[in-house]
């Protein structure tokens, strides 16, 4: 099936962001693990795998639309040096991802690609859930303090 080039470009852009987020989350997860914060490791590792599943869906969709998924492009990673900062940076990245997915949804809408639109909307829903979790962690750190917070993450 021949896809619309505007939609394909929008999907590839989201793919690049996904590939970037997979890596940032994965590295952060294993840094948490290395310091013994098992709970953070589990949560962030799972988020990374979820990102990979999203990337998979986008790759398959691009192929179906006769496009070429670009797995070579990768954005800048924002890697923190300590757990609190790492969560904040993940939160910022996730927020940016969400904004870009919303824009891509608008592109699909205006190009009448309702299947791609639906796929992105499903991805968006999961993103918002993880963003909510990240928001909660950041405000927890602000209210109970980093040390208290980290004690609960062992």
């Amino acid at each position: 099936m021949r896809g619309n080039s505007t939609v394909l470009a929008a999907l590839n852009k989201i793919l690049t962001r996904k590939l970037t987020t997979i890596n940032q989350f994965f590295l952060h997860a294993r840094m948490h693990k290395n310091w013994g914060f098992e709970q953070l490791n589990n949560k962030v590792y799972k988020a990374s795998i979820d990102e990979m599943k999203h990337a998979d869906k986008i790759i398959e969709r691009i192929l179906l639309l006769d496009g070429l998924p670009n797995l070579q492009e990768l954005g800048k990673l924002y890697i923190g040096e300590e757990p609190g900062e790492m969560l904040k940076l993940d939160d910022k990245l996730q927020t940016e991802d969400i904004n870009h997915i919303r824009q891509a949804i608008a592109v699909c809408e205006s190009e009448h690609d309702f299947v791609s639109r639906k796929m992105l909307a499903e991805i968006l829903e999961q993103q918002e859930e993880h963003q909510d979790w990240l928001d909660t962690q950041c405000s927890l750190i602000d209210t109970i303090g980093l040390e208290n917070y980290l004690q609960q993450q062992l």
Binding site: K13, T16, G75, K76, L77, Y78, I79, G80, E81, E82, E85, L89, K92, L93, E96, H100
Partner: protein, 115 residues
């Protein structure tokens, strides 16, 4: 004594991941006289591998430069000259300036690229 960099609420993150260079290292380099990305490149090899960090490094560098130069100016001309004490006062002022610089960097240089 100004708080140590490590505890000052500085955004502690890696600017250049390929070479493992943090924002704090860049602020320190500015403290030691670095004024351009080229010098950071020479000193750390920053940006020599994938090059994705140069934009952010420039942001960190510029803000550190701005903050140190603005804040450090009074240190250069103390109002009362007390022999023996001046050096110390100036050093403290510079420390504060650099500390402020590190602190201010936290807020604004961090903008994610939007591509």
């Amino acid at each position: 004594m100004p708080p140590k960099f490590e505890n000052a609420g500085v955004r502690s993150m890696y600017v250049c991941l390929c070479k493992g260079i943090t924002d704090k290292q860049i602020v320190k380099a500015v403290e030691n006289g670095a004024v351009s990305v080229r010098e950071l490149r020479k000193q750390f090899g920053l940006g020599n591998q994938c090059g994705k960090c140069t934009c952010m490094a420039r942001g960190v560098l510029n803000e550190a430069l701005e903050n140190t130069s603005v804040a450090a100016t009074p240190a250069q001309k103390p109002e009362i000259f007390i022999p023996g004490k001046t050096a110390n006062a100036a050093t403290n002022a510079t420390h504060n300036a650099i500390h402020n610089a590190a602190h201010n960097v936290t807020q604004s240089y961090f903008t994610l690229t939007s591509n």
